[in-house]
């Protein structure tokens, strides 16, 4: 399993699509960080500065983060979506499978897809967090809304993990980034394993599953959770106090992973029969 994972991880990691996605995410983070730097350069006193955690890319106050969030599903699946189709068309899958075994191949692929997407959506943001800690004074607690600290504390309890933010804001940001990384990994794994179903002949079709899934989720939201949103953009944004159904969304992500496991088992059994 370890060898299969390593082999597939290395193969996906050096692909042009993976590098392009990583650079694109890095660009969004760099733009956000530069904007924060320019904003803080104008301010003389620490007391007037915004809380650096509230200006991170995934924060609801970040314009760059807003644009990135709209591309999130596409970027999350982009490096790994075509992985199976490419290997199938080029025949390289037979080589890897013969060396590592059927089960090891599929679970290695699942692990590699998850880890690649997880790393793309965590490393640049953890780096931004680290740079923010170094460059900006962490004692500044200004809210970008302009309201006083006490008002924002009172109103700010509506968002997820808000208690953690008020006890340790760096830990809050780190946990949030890791959650987003896990969701990206979940999206990538689900998308990849749906493409193992018959009917996916062209690479272009491999971007279908995630969009169909999100479409059905938005449509089904009015029936499953009429008062609380399941929109990923709302759920995965820091300090977003909109009405969002986090437990159901977590269950959906777990369900996606469960479907991926079932599809992997199906492929393993198919391979064994042959």
């Amino acid at each position: 399993m370890k060898n299969s994972f390593k082999m597939q991880f290395r193969e996906i990691a050096v692909k042009k699509t993976t590098v392009a996605t990583y650079l694109a995410v890095l660009l969004f983070v760099a733009v956000n960080f530069s904007v924060n730097l320019l904003e803080n350069r104008e301010i003389q006193y620490v007391s007037q500065m915004y809380d650096p955690i509230k200006k991170l890319t995934w924060s609801s106050w970040s314009v760059s983060g807003y644009y990135l969030m709209q591309l999130f599903p596409l970027l999350a699946v982009f490096p790994t979506a075509t992985s199976w189709i490419s290997e199938k068309n080029s025949g390289i899958h037979a080589y890897i499978r013969s060396r590592s075994g059927e089960r090891e191949y599929w679970y290695g692929k699942m692990g590699a897809a998850f880890v690649i997407s997880f790393l793309i959506f965590t490393v640049p943001f953890l780096l931004e967090l680290l740079l923010s800690i170094i460059c900006f004074p962490m004692q500044s607690a200004g809210d970008p809304s302009g309201f006083s600290y006490l008002i924002t504390v009172e109103e700010g309890t509506g968002y997820i993990l808000s208690q953690l933010f008020y006890s340790n804001k760096v830990l809050y940001a780190a946990v949030f980034i890791l959650i987003i990384g896990c969701v990206a990994g979940g999206f990538a794994v689900f998308n990849l394993f749906v493409t193992t179903l018959p009917g996916f002949r062209y690479k272009i079709f491999t971007f279908f599953p995630i969009y169909i899934f999100l479409f059905l989720l938005t449509v089904g939201e009015s029936w499953i959770s009429p008062n609380e949103s399941l929109y990923y953009g709302l759920l995965l944004t820091m300090f977003e106090s909109g009405n969002a159904n986090y437990p159901l969304f977590a269950a959906v992500i777990v369900g996606m992973l469960a479907i991926s496991f079932l599809l992997a088992e199906r492929k393993i059994r198919e391979g064994g029969v042959r």
């Binding site: 596409l74 982009f78 169909i212 999100l214």
Partner: protein, 270 residues
């Protein structure tokens, strides 16, 4: 025929999931209301509308993915056999473009008709006089938009590969939506409208061409919930915009199919 069946099936599904599910609670609805609802007229350039915009936009994106390999697949599966027997590739390409355009039109019509038929089962659907011009502009603008971008995917897939082929148009469109919903930052904080000198933001945005809620016809707003804007945004301007996109895509496609080396062009195995 199988590929057209898939498109029609997608149209039916989107009609039920988008149009029907969105308007199922309305007792009486007119056909023009159904069309206006599908043309983002209930939304405004504000971040709060991003979810409803994406919900209505995903069917268009799914169509583009489904038909994004309609022409390109000839270069993947049958290029050597097929193109050695085709005297004029341009003629063949234009014929394929015509088929693609008709597919776009069929998809849009099926989507609206399925939604209207499903609504008819649970309530009342009336036909009003304004449906003629609203429907006309809807079909013209949306079909040309879909055609332009879907053809763009095919052409880019041919020129580069299908991954880049889908990524570039999808990113342009999604960024267009994100920019559209962020335009409220430049709007007047009291009225919520963009000033006339910011009109270029609307004019250049490909997504804004689809949003009938901010359009005008003969100087009057198409849909009056959000009131008149401070600058005209005529439907005819959007027809011209999407028409230019479509013409550009056809021209680029003609150049691409003519120059493309058909023996080494199956990029699907890379």
């Amino acid at each position: 025929m199988r590929k057209y069946r898939k498109v029609l099936l997608l149209g039916c599904l989107c009609g039920i999931l988008c149009v029907f599910s969105d308007m199922v609670n309305m007792e009486e609805v007119s056909l023009s209301q159904i069309i206006l609802r599908t043309t983002f007229s209930q939304t405004w350039y504000h971040a709060g509308f991003i979810m409803s915009i994406m919900k209505m936009f995903i069917p268009l994106l799914l169509f583009q993915i489904l038909c994004g390999s309609m022409i390109y697949r000839y270069f993947c599966c049958a290029s050597v056999y097929y193109f050695t027997r085709n005297a004029s590739r341009i003629k063949w390409f234009l014929l394929e473009c015509a088929k693609l355009y008709l597919t776009c039109l069929s998809f849009l019509i099926i989507m609206i008709l399925t939604g209207a038929a499903a609504l008819l089962l649970v309530g009342k659907v009336t036909i009003d006089s304004s449906v003629v011009w609203i429907g006309g502009y809807y079909l013209l603008i949306y079909s040309l938009y879909l055609f332009g971008f879907t053809l763009g995917i095919n052409v880019l897939s041919l020129a580069w590969n299908s991954t880049a082929g889908i990524a570039v148009p999808a990113i342009i469109q999604i960024m267009g939506i994100a920019f559209y919903t962020m335009m409220s930052q430049f709007a007047d904080p009291v009225t919520g409208y963009l000033a006339a000198d910011s009109a270029w933001m609307v004019y250049i945005n490909p997504f804004a061409q689809l949003a009938f809620g901010i359009h005008t016809r003969n100087g009057k707003p198409v849909f009056s919930i959000f009131g008149p804007q401070e600058f005209p945004f005529e439907l005819n301007m959007s027809v011209a915009y999407v028409g230019i996109i479509a013409i550009f895509a056809v021209a680029a496609g003609c150049a691409a199919v003519n120059r493309h080396e058909f023996i080494t062009n199956d990029k699907e195995i890379e």
